[in-house]
Symmetry: C2
Subunit: 372 residues, 2 copies
């Protein structure tokens, strides 16, 4: 298995495309794919199933003697996880034409060691002499359909004994970076009334995020403080700086944005109450949700029925490269069950049989869409 | 300036002693000193003033033609700050005869990179072939007095326009390490009711520390969460582990221990409420306060009067090597003003004139105690 037999190209940021030409190569192609990068201390199925599954789906179709009408493409998206540069879905976001991101990558994006995105890309053999990242953008008519196979990253399919989830919408994510600054000082000598502890401001804001999410009253609203860092980080030093990164998501963009507004109001109020400075409250991204294409959803449903695989329509609460591909192509996603819904931790697992079922639905749906 | 002219010895953990023999070398000596290590991102006066000041005090006495009766010693204590091994006042605590520490250093103490204390000490040229750290312990009758010159690390002397603070007691410190563990998971896919977020448990406990300290009703009670770490530390991952390090101090040991008990009760209650595990609640040290020796206090007061330096009796809210030296020797401490009371941050500063005043009082007090 591999990309052999496909014509392969890489773009300037490391997205990889493997193409199987159809007998009408002038028609917009049908694409499928996902990512293979991971967050620290995570599992090995998130993303990878959709890449290896896509390659296997094309191999199965080849072995069966199928001849595509529209070309079929496998895409390996670069940097879906925000691990290094703090930007999620970097590859697909850029493919979808984000001018803001193209500018940021060229000028301001650095990793935790202050290495610029441009230097890192060049070191890895990309962005050779290219100053304009807009050549990575894909045109809206480039694909007639984009499909992504992925583990559910939630417990529903396993709990309900279903093989296939057909995604009708992807929840809208937003990321916020917050910095507080106080005077710090010695943990023994500075008395409590004289303190403005940036760490306690961060602790209060983390709890406020949870409160505002729960106050929304909606099960579909989530909010997480995954990063909370204190400076200088010594047991006998009052934190003089704190840094939080907040993730909020919803299938309702307006409701999510109201939660963000409340988080902002809390950050301002906490800073005032504790006499710390709110030196940054930056909404890093605030993406709209994506709705799956109706005809692709129907094709996936029909295929699941033909294969006698129990399935249901569902929402993706995690977001994916599909969220951004939906901006330039009709989009659909397939979920398969995963152990207890675990994801982003080492216990993440999907059974071979479930992966095989997902690949079957993917392959047959790609075949149908190719002939469409 | 330096240790030249003194007979110098080092012990097995890197405490350094410079001795000026008196004309009655068989009498217990008078010692003075402090530390030269620092926490990250800190200042350059904490500790250093008491080491360079001690050396200068002995030099001044030599230049003046003074002949000590009791020998005078300068001590440079190793690892006063807990930076590397998480143990504060490592050197003086061991000199004062802590068997618990001697055992821990030999068997269980490691730094953040899992390097053992023994390996680090040997790499630095200490603990050569020695298996028993009890040879570092000093006898109770070894010194007739121990004095430490130090910046106040608080705002009182500067605010009141005083040159010298004479310490009557050192507040009792305690350090606690806490770990929470939950299931972690994906920040999008795991819905709020299904979460047990170790990071939010840590945030709640940090605020509980502040609450219990304030509830004590005493200005002398302080509590600080200087370290709060989340694992895995990714924006799109619910924290599965959190680690806090808490510092509490008081001049009243009983009141401080009541605060620790309340913090423990909160940790248990928060773990239960949030369905996380409290995998560690460890009181790393819980030291009693130290009371200065009355005759040393009187000698410092008399000297300050003779030098026409405005002074006051005060409490040390920060703790020092003196806290542990008080276990084996009559103890006294001298404070000098520092800029705005700042300490443990780069803005820490003491004026040359204030340092000179402190050295004068130290030198004359050492001379008196030497002749005593």
């Amino acid at each position: 298995m591999g990309l052999s037999g496909l014509s392969v190209r890489e773009d300037a940021v490391g997205n990889i495309f493997g193409r199987w030409d159809g007998y009408k190569p002038g028609l917009p192609a049908v694409a499928t794919g996902s990512h293979i990068d991971a967050i620290p201390y995570s599992g090995k199925y998130d993303g990878v199933v959709g890449v290896l599954g896509a390659i296997e789906a094309l191999n199965v179709l080849k072995r069966s003697g199928f001849r595509p009408k529209r070309s079929l493409e496998v895409i390996l998206f670069t940097s879906e996880e925000p691990t290094r540069f703090g930007i999620s879905c970097l590859g697909s976001r850029l493919l979808a034409g984000s001018k803001v991101l193209a500018e940021a990558l060229k000028k301001t994006t650095v990793d935790g060691q202050n290495i610029s995105f441009v230097d890192a890309a060049r070191y890895a053999g990309y962005m050779k002499g290219e100053d304009d990242l807009s050549n990575v953008f894909l045109n809206s008519g480039n694909y007639s359909a984009f499909l992504e196979l992925h583990i559910e990253q939630g417990p529903i399919l396993e709990a309900e004994g279903l093989s296939i989830g057909i995604v009708t919408a992807i929840a809208a994510p937003a990321s916020i970076k917050v910095d507080f600054e106080g005077n710090g000082g010695h943990a023994g000598a500075a008395l409590m009334p004289n303190r403005n502890d940036a760490g306690l401001a961060a602790a209060e804001l983390a709890l406020a995020v949870e409160k505002h999410v729960l106050d929304s009253g909606s099960i579909d609203t989530v909010g997480t403080v995954g990063i909370l860092e204190l400076h200088p980080g010594a047991i006998n030093s009052i934190p003089s700086k704190s840094h939080l990164e907040i993730d909020t998501r919803d299938i309702d963009e307006k409701r999510r944005n109201e939660v963000i507004e409340k988080i902002h109001q809390s950050a301002v109020a906490i800073a005032k109450k504790r006499s710390v400075s709110l030196t940054e409250f930056r909404i890093v991204n605030q993406d709209p949700p994506a709705i799956s294409d109706k005809s692709i959803v129907k094709a996936m449903e029909d295929t699941s029925k033909e294969l006698n695989l129990p399935h249901k329509l569902m929402i993706s609460r995690a977001y994916h490269d599909s969220l951004f591909m939906a901006r330039i192509s009709p989009m659909g996603m397939l979920f398969i069950p995963c152990f207890k819904g675990y994801s982003h931790k080492p216990e993440e697992y999907a059974a071979s049989q479930d992966i095989a079922n997902g690949v079957k639905v993917l392959a047959l749906t790609l075949a149908k869409l190719s002939l469409d």
